[in-house]
């Protein structure tokens, strides 16, 4: 009883595109036409000033992108280390206070991050962690690990105990089971959690500003003054760049995974 008119589906896709993709499309126009003003529906004049800006500022743009990319990746890595064994325990073991503990460890993603970040700021300054990449990664990990945790717990649960028991019966030790059986099976869950953590870290402005103090370059930090400035065309061009990198990244990830699964005959 699904609505099966192709026309209805196409109409719906148009709606979806105009809600979520059209803004990006319009940004291309805004980026190419700094003088686009009311009431013109189409810009009168185009200029490549935005593109020129990209070229003259390429070093800064690339370095802030690379920096954002790396601290986000490091955040993914740190959250993975934080969550791997606890997720296994939560998925498989029963222990008193488990429900309460689970609710507790999820709170950092729910409460406003300002509330703990600002309290920590002073301590981070004293420990010389403020204004360093390590401090930024720590605070981002603290705020985003629940996404990784949830994904891994779900991953362990879907995996079940079967593979583990089977491997043990075949004589594998704990470490071998973990490395050769469980870890590969967990990759999809890690990627699911990792992508959310990556996006959260990559698109965060305030925490990086607070803990990085401007010393840790970030693309959001580079973008913010431009978004707040009156030069909309530059802001648009850079926002588009922001969009491209994660999309490329996820495409590559998808493609790489498919290839490696195919090689192993898992698909």
């Amino acid at each position: 009883m699904k609505p099966s008119h192709p026309a209805a589906h196409i109409l719906f896709l148009v709606l979806l595109f105009s809600l979520f993709a059209l803004p990006a499309g319009i940004l291309v126009l805004v980026g190419l036409a700094p003088g686009w003003r009311f009431p013109d529906l189409w810009p009168e004049q185009f200029s490549f000033a935005g593109i020129e800006f990209l070229i003259t500022h390429r070093e800064q743009i690339v370095s802030s992108l690379v920096s954002s990319f790396l601290y986000s990746l490091a955040t993914v890595f740190v959250t993975l280390c934080m969550c791997l064994t606890p997720a296994a325990a939560f998925a498989r073991q029963r222990f008193p206070g488990k429900r309460l503990l689970e609710a507790l460890v999820l709170t950092p993603a729910l409460v406003p991050p300002m509330t703990f970040a600002m309290g920590l700021h002073m301590v981070f300054i004293k420990l010389s962690l403020a204004d360093t990449a390590a401090g930024v990664v720590l605070i981002l990990a603290l705020f985003s690990y629940p996404y990784m945790f949830r994904a891994l717990v779900a991953g362990f649960q879907t995996m079940g105990e079967g593979y583990r028991v089977c491997a043990r019966n075949l004589g594998a030790g704990n470490i071998a089971i973990f490395r050769q059986v469980e870890l590969p099976l967990l990759v999809p869950a890690m990627i699911a959690g990792g992508s959310v953590v990556f996006l959260v870290a990559f698109s965060e402005y305030f925490l990086v500003f607070l803990m990085g103090g401007g010393n840790v370059p970030s693309f959001t930090g580079f973008l913010m003054p431009l978004l707040a400035s009156s030069n909309r065309s530059l802001a648009a061009v850079l926002t588009l760049i922001f969009l491209l990198l994660p999309i490329l990244l996820f495409f590559m990830l998808d493609w790489g995974l498919m290839r490696s699964y195919r090689k192993k005959g898992m698909i």
């Binding site: 595109f17 803004p23 009431p39 460890v105 406003p112 300002m114 002073m122 922001f242």
Partner: protein, 293 residues
């Protein structure tokens, strides 16, 4: 006996990578926020009483205005996102396979940082924006002043739009994750038994989606309540969001007012925790009620 204690030790060891940072950094951070709100460990020696900062804040009517405003913006945007996401996700799920790929565009705002989404709202909805131009081209308005004052109406509509645009795909993601595991045959059976489409949606699909709806609502609500990025671009002078107020107190004044910033944060934290507890209690009670029926 030693076997169980050994097991407990292993369990603690297994949990420690998570519990250690949680206790030290998160709980420690909140603890320090509370301390600084009381004038302890502040960068400048605090001379007043313990609750001075709270007295100052709670006697300021603009604090309550800001708090109510933040609450309203968060509520409207979270409810809007979850509602829109439910319908959109359901329709995406119904798409034939060959069209499903195209539906992935919904993830675009997920990638954009909040500040960029705020910028998109600015470009579209200001009185000299794209939509105003469109309305002019369609002959709906003659001058830009006739275009509805969306961004500066005093109701935070601009921020609500931005949060909704950013939050909808997030909720869709969670909902679709549940939908892919959903058995189509349930719907087919219901349809064969003569259930209308809306009946199917509300009685069969919605209850299955409830966990995702609740999770996304809580996350989105509390995020919009306390975040800084979008208000920084779209906020009006008055009433301001709480987070902006905190930012100003923290960064734009001398250190003497630090306890006030921290006191607001403490109140926000308390509110968030209470909200989570109250919300999950209500949901559990409602669901138990449903099951009894």
């Amino acid at each position: 006996m030693s076997w169980t204690s050994n097991r407990t030790a292993i369990l603690i060891l297994k949990l420690s990578p998570l519990m250690l940072p949680f206790v030290v950094l998160f709980c420690g951070g909140v603890f320090l926020t509370v301390c600084q709100s009381l004038g302890l460990f502040t960068p400048l020696p605090h001379t007043g009483g313990l609750v001075d900062a709270y007295t100052v804040i709670l006697s300021d009517p603009s604090f309550f205005a800001s708090a109510g405003f933040s609450f309203g913006v968060a509520l409207a945007s979270a409810a809007g996102s979850v509602t829109a996401a439910t319908f959109l996700a359901y329709r995406v799920w119904q798409l034939p396979k060959m069209m499903a790929g195209a539906a992935l565009v919904y993830k675009i705002p997920l990638i954009l940082p909040h500040i960029a989404v705020a910028f998109v709202v600015l470009v579209f909805w200001s009185q000299s924006g794209i939509l105003a131009s469109l309305a002019h081209a369609l002959g709906l308005i003659q001058s830009m002043q006739e275009f509805p004052n969306v961004l500066f109406s005093g109701w935070g509509v601009g921020m609500i739009l931005a949060y909704t645009l950013k939050g909808t795909p997030f909720a869709m993601l969670l909902i679709l994750a549940l939908l892919v595991r959903f058995d189509v045959r349930q719907i087919q059976t219901a349809a064969m038994l003569g259930a209308s489409r809306s009946r199917i949606f509300f009685s069969i699909v919605m209850p299955r989606l409830a966990p995702a709806l609740h999770t996304s609502f809580i996350i989105l609500f509390l995020y919009s309540f306390g975040a800084f990025d979008i208000p920084y671009i779209l906020s009006e002078s008055r009433p301001g969001m709480l987070s902006l107020h905190v930012f100003d107190l923290y960064f734009k004044h001398d250190l003497a007012r630090r306890p006030e910033a921290m006191a607001i944060l403490t109140l926000m934290f308390g509110f968030a925790v209470l909200f989570i507890i109250a919300y999950s209690k209500t949901v559990t009670r409602l669901e138990n009620g449903v099951r009894k029926l």
